[in-house]
C-alpha cells in the first residue's frame, strides 16, 4: 500500500542523496520524492510517497530515523493531511480543438499557461487522483510533454481549540505520541 511520509531534514548538501540512496540500497520502492526549504532556512521538508507492506514501510521509517540528518519522520498515511501535486502538460490542440480543451481545463479549474499554433500548455494543482483523471481526459488529444512534481503534503491543523492544550497543536502531539510508539 502507498504511504506518504513527511520528513524534516537538515538543509545541507547530500541529504537528498542519503535518502534516495537508502531506498535504492535497500531495495525499497520510492514512487515520488519532493524537497523544499521550510520557514526555517536550515530545515527542509521532504515528502516521500513509497510503496510496501506495513512491515517494509515500518522498516523504511526506522531506517530514515537512523539518518543523522533526518530530524523528524511523520507517516501521514491515515492522518488528516493535505496532499497536492502540480502538473504541467502540453497537449496537441489544433485551433478547432481549443474550445474543447478549454472546457476540460475549466471543469478541473486548470490554468492555461500557453497557447501555440497547434499545442496548448496547462497547469493543474490537485490530488494525485484528480491529476490522473485530468491527464486521462486530455490523452485523446495527444500528450506532447508532461511534468508532474510529485506529492507535497502537510498535516491538517486542529479545528477547535483544545482545553488545556497550551502548547503544541493536537496534530503535533499526536505525531509525537506516534513517534514514541514507533520508538518503543
Amino acid at each position: 500500500m502507498k504511504h506518504i511520509v513527511s520528513l524534516l531534514v537538515e538543509n545541507k548538501q547530500g541529504v537528498l542523496a542519503r535518502i534516495a540512496g537508502l531506498f535504492s540500497g535497500r531495495g525499497y520502492n520510492l514512487e515520488s520524492i519532493t524537497a523544499g526549504v521550510t520557514s526555517d532556512p536550515t530545515v527542509s521538508r521532504i515528502t516521500l510517497a513509497c510503496l510496501g507492506d506495513d512491515l517494509i514501510v515500518e522498516q523504511i521509517k526506522k531506517q530514515l530515523n537512523r539518518l543523522i540528518d533526518v530530524i523528524r519522520v511523520t507517516d501521514l498515511t491515515g492522518l488528516p493531511a493535505l496532499h497536492r501535486e502540480l502538473l504541467l502538460v502540453k497537449v496537441t490542440a489544433k485551433p478547432s480543438q481549443r474550445g474543447e480543451v478549454f472546457q476540460v481545463a475549466d471543469v478541473f479549474k486548470a490554468q492555461v499557461m500557453d497557447v501555440g499554433a497547434d499545442t496548448m500548455s496547462l497547469e493543474l494543482t490537485g490530488s494525485t487522483e484528480k491529476i490522473d483523471d485530468f491527464v486521462a481526459l486530455l490523452a485523446p488529444y495527444g500528450l506532447v510533454e508532461m511534468a508532474r512534481s510529485g506529492l507535497v503534503s502537510l498535516e491538517r491543523s486542529r479545528k477547535s481549540p483544545q482545553p488545556g492544550a497550551a502548547r503544541g497543536s493536537r496534530a503535533s502531539r499526536r505525531t509525537k505520541a506516534r513517534e514514541r510508539k514507533e520508538r518503543a
Binding site: 537538515e10 547530500g14 542519503r18 512491515l55 515500518e58 537512523r66 543523522i68 540528518d69 518503543a184
Partner: protein, 574 residues
C-alpha cells in the same frame, strides 16, 4: 590563536584523547602529516595499506572500547578504506576515518586522485562529512567522534579538502555537541522492562540469546549476574561470544549455521527467546519460517531498526544492553525451570563438539585448544572462514573484548591488522590472530607494520592449502568440484582436480621464510607433539611477530553445519 586546518585537526584529535593514528600518507594529506612530524602525544602508526590501517583501528577500538582513528589520502587511499568501513559498520565499531580530498576548487573536475568518497562510503558508514568550510572543521570533528561512540557505535568518515587543511583561521573547538536529528535512546521503556520480567518469570523454557551488544556496551558483568540470578541457559551469536565464559555451565554455545547441537536445539525448543543486543542475523537464525517455532521473543537492542525486522517480537525494548540490564536485574525473578535446565545439560553432555580429525595433518580443534591453554588471557582475532568458526567453537573465551572477528561483513584479511591494533591498545597482553592460509595473505603486508612497531603478535595459521570454507561447501553441496579454492594449484594442474596429491607443491608460500624475510619469527608445526613446544617458543618472543605455520588436515571440516536455508535443528554431523 590562528592555526592551519591541519594543526586544528591534530588539536581536535588530542581533545578526543587519541593515542594512535593509523595512517598512510599521500599528496593531499601532506599538510596533516606535516603537523604530525615530531608529535609525541599521538603516535602515528604507518600501515602498509589503507585497508590494514582501518582494520588496525578497528582492532584497537574493539579491544579497548575507544574510538579508532585513521588518516589517509584522497582517491585510492580513500577507496581502500571502504572494506574496513563496511566491516566496522556491520559490527558496530566506533571509528573516525579522515580522508584527504582534492582542493575545493578541483572537486568534480576529475582531478588527480579524486574520488567522491562521501558518495562511495555513504552506505557503509554511520555518517560521513565533506568539510566545505574551514570554520566547520572543529565542529565536524567533534560531531564525528560523538556519533562514532554513542548510540549503536559505528564508523564516521570525514573528508577534508587539501585547502581546508592549509587555510588559516582562528575558530576554537566547540565545547559541546548538539545534533538535533541524533538522540539515541539508552534507557528502555519501564513498562516494557516490567513486561519482560513478567514473561521471564512465567516461562517454562526460557533462553537468553546474547549478541554483540552485550560486549560492546560493557554489559557482560551484569549479564553474568543475570544468568547467575535466574539460571536461564544462554546461547550467543558469533559477536556475543565472550559475553559469558565459554565454559560457563549455563552456556550452550554459539547458535546458527555452525552452532552447537545444544544451542540450536534449545532455540528450537524454548518457549521464550530473550535476545539482548543481537540482530537475528541469517547465519544465526537459518530459515526464519522455522526459527524458534515455540518461542515468544523479547528483543532488546539499541537500534530500533534491528527490532522486528527478521522475527516477530512480543516484547520489543529499545535500549542499550547495559542500561537495560541495570534496570532489569532488580526485577528479574528466577523461573522454575529445573526440567529445562537438565534437558539443556543433557544435550551438552551427550552431543558436545567433537574433536576435528587430523587425517594426514594436525587437528585444527586441537591446535586451537592448545593455544587457549597456553594463552588463556589472550585477545584473539580471526580471519574469516573455517579458522573463524573453529575459533568460535573451540577457544575458551573468558572476558569480553577478547574475541575480535568480522561477523557481519565476513572480511578475510581482517584478523592480522586487527591484531596489530589490539596489541597497540593492550601492550601487556598476548594478541593472537587465528588465521587460514588464504585469509592471512589478504593483508600480509602488515607484517611490515608489526615488525616496525615491534609487536609480538602471534599469527597461528591453520594451513590446509585451501580456501577451506568454500571447499567444504563444494565438498558438501557441489560433489567435490573444488573450483577456485586450492591455494597450491599451479597452471599445470589438471582443471578438474578434486584431490590433493603428492605432486602438490608443499609450501605456497613458505610462511616461515616469509616471516623471516620481514624480520619476524617463523615456526612450522607438522606433528601434534610439536604444538606445545612451538607455543612455548612463541611465548618467549616479545619484540617481533611470530608466524606459526600449523599444517592441519587438508580436508578438515567445520561441524555441525546447517545448510543454507534450512532450519537450525537440521544439523549435519551434529
Amino acid at each position: 590563536m590562528k592555526t592551519h586546518g591541519a594543526a586544528h585537526l591534530i588539536e581536535a584529535l588530542k581533545r578526543e584523547n587519541v593515542e594512535f593514528l593509523f595512517g598512510f600518507p599521500g599528496g593531499v594529506v601532506i599538510p596533516a602529516f606535516d603537523a604530525l612530524y615530531g608529535e609525541r602525544e599521538i603516535r602515528l602508526v604507518l600501515a602498509r595499506h589503507e585497508q590494514g590501517a582501518v582494520h588496525a583501528a578497528d582492532g584497537y577500538a574493539r579491544s579497548t572500547g575507544r574510538v579508532g582513528v585513521c588518516l589517509v589520502t584522497s582517491g585510492p587511499g580513500a577507496t581502500n578504506t571502504v572494506t574496513g568501513l563496511a566491516t566496522a559498520n556491520f559490527d558496530s565499531v566506533p571509528l573516525v576515518v579522515i580522508t584527504g580530498q582534492v582542493a575545493r576548487n578541483m572537486i568534480g573536475n576529475d582531478a588527480f586522485q579524486e574520488a567522491d568518497i562521501v558518495g562511495i562510503s555513504r552506505s557503509v558508514t554511520k555518517h560521513n562529512y565533506l568539510v566545505t568550510e574551514r570554520k566547520d572543521l572543529g565542529r565536524i570533528l567533534r560531531e564525528a567522534f560523538h556519533i562514532a561512540r554513542t548510540g549503536r557505535p559505528g564508523p564516521v568518515l570525514v573528508d577534508i579538502p587539501k585547502d581546508v587543511l592549509t587555510e588559516v583561521s582562528a575558530d576554537p573547538l566547540p565545547e559541546s555537541v548538539s545534533i538535533r536529528g541524533y538522540n539515541p535512546v539508552y534507557r528502555g521503556h519501564p513498562l516494557q522492562i516490567r513486561k519482560a520480567a513478567q514473561v521471564l518469570a512465567a516461562a517454562k523454557k526460557p533462553l537468553f540469546y546474547a549478541g554483540g551488544g552485550v560486549n560492546i556496551s560493557g554489559a557482560a558483568g551484569l549479564f553474568r549476574d543475570l544468568v547467575a540470578a535466574t539460571g536461564v541457559p544462554v546461547v550467543a551469536s558469533l559477536m556475543g561470544i565472550s559475553s559469558i565464559p565459554s565454559d560457563h555451565p549455563r552456556f550452550l554455545g554459539m547458535l546458527g549455521m555452525h552452532g552447537t547441537y545444544a544451542a540450536n536445539m534449545a532455540v528450537q525448543s524454548c518457549d521464550l527467546l530473550f535476545a539482548i543486543g543481537s540482530r537475528f542475523d541469517d547465519r544465526a537464525t537459518g530459515n526464519l519460517k522455522t526459527f524458534a517455532p515455540h518461542a515468544a521473543v523479547v528483543h532488546v537492542d539499541i537500534d530500533p531498526a534491528s527490532i522486528s525486522r527478521n522475527v516477530p517480537v512480543e516484547v520489543p525494548i529499545v535500549a542499550d544492553a547495559r542500561c537495560f540490564l541495570e534496570d532489569f536485574l532488580p526485577l528479574a525473578k528466577a523461573p522454575s525451570i529445573a526440567e529445562w535446565q537438565s534437558q539443556t545439560e543433557e544435550w551438552m553432555r551427550t552431543r558436545p563438539l567433537a574433536e576435528v580429525p587430523g587425517n594426514g595433518g594436525l587437528s585444527p580443534s586441537r591446535v586451537i585448544r592448545a593455544i587457549a591453554e597456553a594463552f588463556p588471557a589472550a585477545i584473539v582475532t580471526t580471519e574469516v572462514g573455517q579458522n573463524q568458526m573453529w575459533t568460535a567453537q573451540y577457544f575458551n573465551f573468558q572476558e569480553p573484548r577478547t574475541f575480535l572477528t568480522s561477523g557481519g561483513l565476513g572480511t578475510m584479511g581482517y584478523g592480522f591488522p586487527a591484531a596489530i591494533g589490539a596489541q597497540l591498545g593492550n601492550p601487556g597482553r598476548r594478541v593472537i590472530d587465528i588465521a587460514g592460509d588464504g585469509s592471512i595473505q589478504m593483508n600480509i603486508q602488515e607484517l611490515g607494520t608489526a615488525v616496525a612497531e615491534k609487536l609480538p603478535v602471534i599469527v597461528a595459521i591453520l594451513n590446509n592449502g585451501y580456501l577451506g570454507m568454500v571447499r567444504q561447501w563444494q565438498e558438501a553441496f557441489n560433489a567435490r568440484r573444488y573450483s577456485g579454492v586450492c591455494l597450491n594449484r599451479a597452471v599445470d594442474c589438471p582443471p578438474d582436480c578434486a584431490q590433493p596429491g603428492k605432486a602438490c607443491p608443499p609450501y605456497a608460500p613458505d610462511f616461515v621464510k616469509l616471516a623471516q624475510a620481514y624480520g619476524a619469527e617463523g615456526i612450522r608445526v607438522i606433528d601434534t607433539a610439536e604444538i606445545g613446544p612451538a607455543l612455548s617458543k612463541a611465548a618467549k618472543v616479545t619484540d617481533r611477530p611470530i608466524f606459526l605455520d600449523f599444517r592441519v588436515s587438508r580436508e578438515a571440516n567445520v561441524w555441525p553445519m546447517v545448510p543454507a536455508g534450512a532450519a537450525i535443528d537440521e544439523m549435519m554431523n551434529a
